[in-house]
Amino acid sequence: MGELKLMKGNEALAEAAIRAGADAYFGYPITPQSEVIEYLMAEKPWERTGMVVLQAESEVAAINMVYGAAGAGKKVMTSSSSPGISLKQEGLSYIAGSELPCVYANVVRGGPGLGTIQPSQADYFQSTKGGGHGDYRQIVLAPASVQEMSDFVKLGFELAFKYRIAVLILSDGVIGQMMEKVELFDPIPRMTDEEITAKYPWATTGKKKGTQRRIITSLDLDSHKMEEHNHHLQEKYRIISENEVRYELIDCDDAEYIFVAYGSSARIAQKAVQLARAKGIKAGLFRLISLFPFPGKEMAALCKKGVKGWLAVEMSAGQMVEDVMLSVKGCAKVGHFGRYGGIVHSPEEVLHAMEEKIIGE
């Protein structure tokens, strides 16, 4: 068993970066995720593992530092919260176009604009449908516990390098700020420069005479080549969709009414399931872990087993619910419930919404 600690989600994320053998973290402070860079600066991983930590002048600079270091074959990470993530979109689009691996976290707060520093899940569209410009996707993992804040950093780097893609850990103020017991995984040593050069032939590490030079770019002025590149990207996203779907079913075996949720909303909905069961309602929870790829097929298959209704629970005005509808349309009733703007819904409200909107008539 790994080391047991009581940690905030943000701290667990930071500690996991060090343990995952990350080479660098570039970030910029913003509530509610500043603990990530604060923890790293206090922990001095440059003394522990040689990991670089740098406070950039902006989120724009931070993501471009990630771009440069990732293009040079290193394991890099950044994190921010909603307004800062908006600023990173240009860089993320370049990372998608150049097919670079990286992990980043969004500890979501309420918007739009400067909004609030309180928890929210209103960045679902931005996270799963592209965010920046161009036809691209990124893998989105939604931790629902401090444990997963840690575990998904390790998993995130594995997926990022397997597919040369950005992996987003989509968290929120609840998961980032709360403390829970976390079992830390054993540290993975950082790769040596020689290992990196050997393992990632695409990385810009200096062109040896007589070898092919490496170019990290997302540009091609020849539209036919660009279309080809886009085909390649789409094929990659398809393969990811087939192989990297992740979700958890709680009390779904006999469930007639199922809550669909991710992150902190999933935890709240899980409590709503308990409250419902206590009232004799056969409720269950479909917890999304990967938001892209979205477990739509699995949802549809479950729906055919006698589900009467679904309630999408998210701290937004209704974003994820669109994907739920696309998945189970025609099979059962779908509704949405969510508080937003920084308000976190209560388990009682969530159950009440299921009773009113789905079971009701």
Binding site: L6, M178, R267, K271, V273, V344, P347
Partner: protein
């Protein structure tokens, strides 16, 4: 066993760290715990609160609106959270600075004069440990030995000399909590 509780008071009263010590003690006895603070500008000088859950099972929602126990340490928090105690639940409060005392009849109400006792002990900083002692007397969700074990694990070595004083404060709280109804 699942204990869902809130500790609410002013920033600076040690509300968040009291919750942390409780959570840490839960880990020491192999329980599941969660600690969800209020965060942001609300904390600065204003009110601070933290929801702590200690359970034998996997914890579902870390965010709650009703509680088995509320520990209330200022008037604003009393106004906000007296109504959030489940019927049959427990409310523990320090009367210091309280002008409107709790009135509910369907909950059990305790008083602990934490501020007075801590200053009598000559250290206002152990206030939160006095209150924690009172709570553990009423609700022994974690054993005192595990609180001490948790303190030892979570505090840097240089603070370990303060542990006996914290233990005294816990005992002071346990011995002085008063049931009002």
């Amino acid at each position: 066993m699942t204990e869902e509780m809130i500790i609410a008071g002013f920033g600076g009263q040690g509300v968040l760290s009291m919750g942390k010590i409780l959570a840490y003690s839960g880990i020491m006895q192999d329980q599941e715990v969660s600690w969800m603070p209020s965060y942001g500008p609300e904390m600065r000088g204003g009110t601070a609160n933290v929801v702590v859950i200690v359970s034998d099972e996997r914890i579902s929602s870390p965010v709650l609106t009703v509680f088995d126990t509320a520990i209330i340490l200022n008037q604003q928090s009393m106004d906000k959270f007296e109504k959030s105690v489940k019927p049959g639940g427990v409310l523990i409060y320090d009367p210091n600075g309280i002008t409107h005392h709790p009135e509910r009849k369907d909950i059990i109400i305790y008083q602990i004069e934490g501020a007075r006792l801590a200053s009598e002990m000559g250290n206002a900083k152990i206030f939160n440990m006095v209150v924690l002692g009172a709570y553990l007397k009423v609700k022994p969700v974690v054993q005192v030995e595990n609180v001490i074990k948790g303190l030892k694990k979570s505090l840097p070595e240089r603070y370990h000399k303060l542990i006996p004083m914290n233990e005294d404060a816990l005992n002071m709280g346990m011995n002085n909590v008063v049931k009002l109804n």
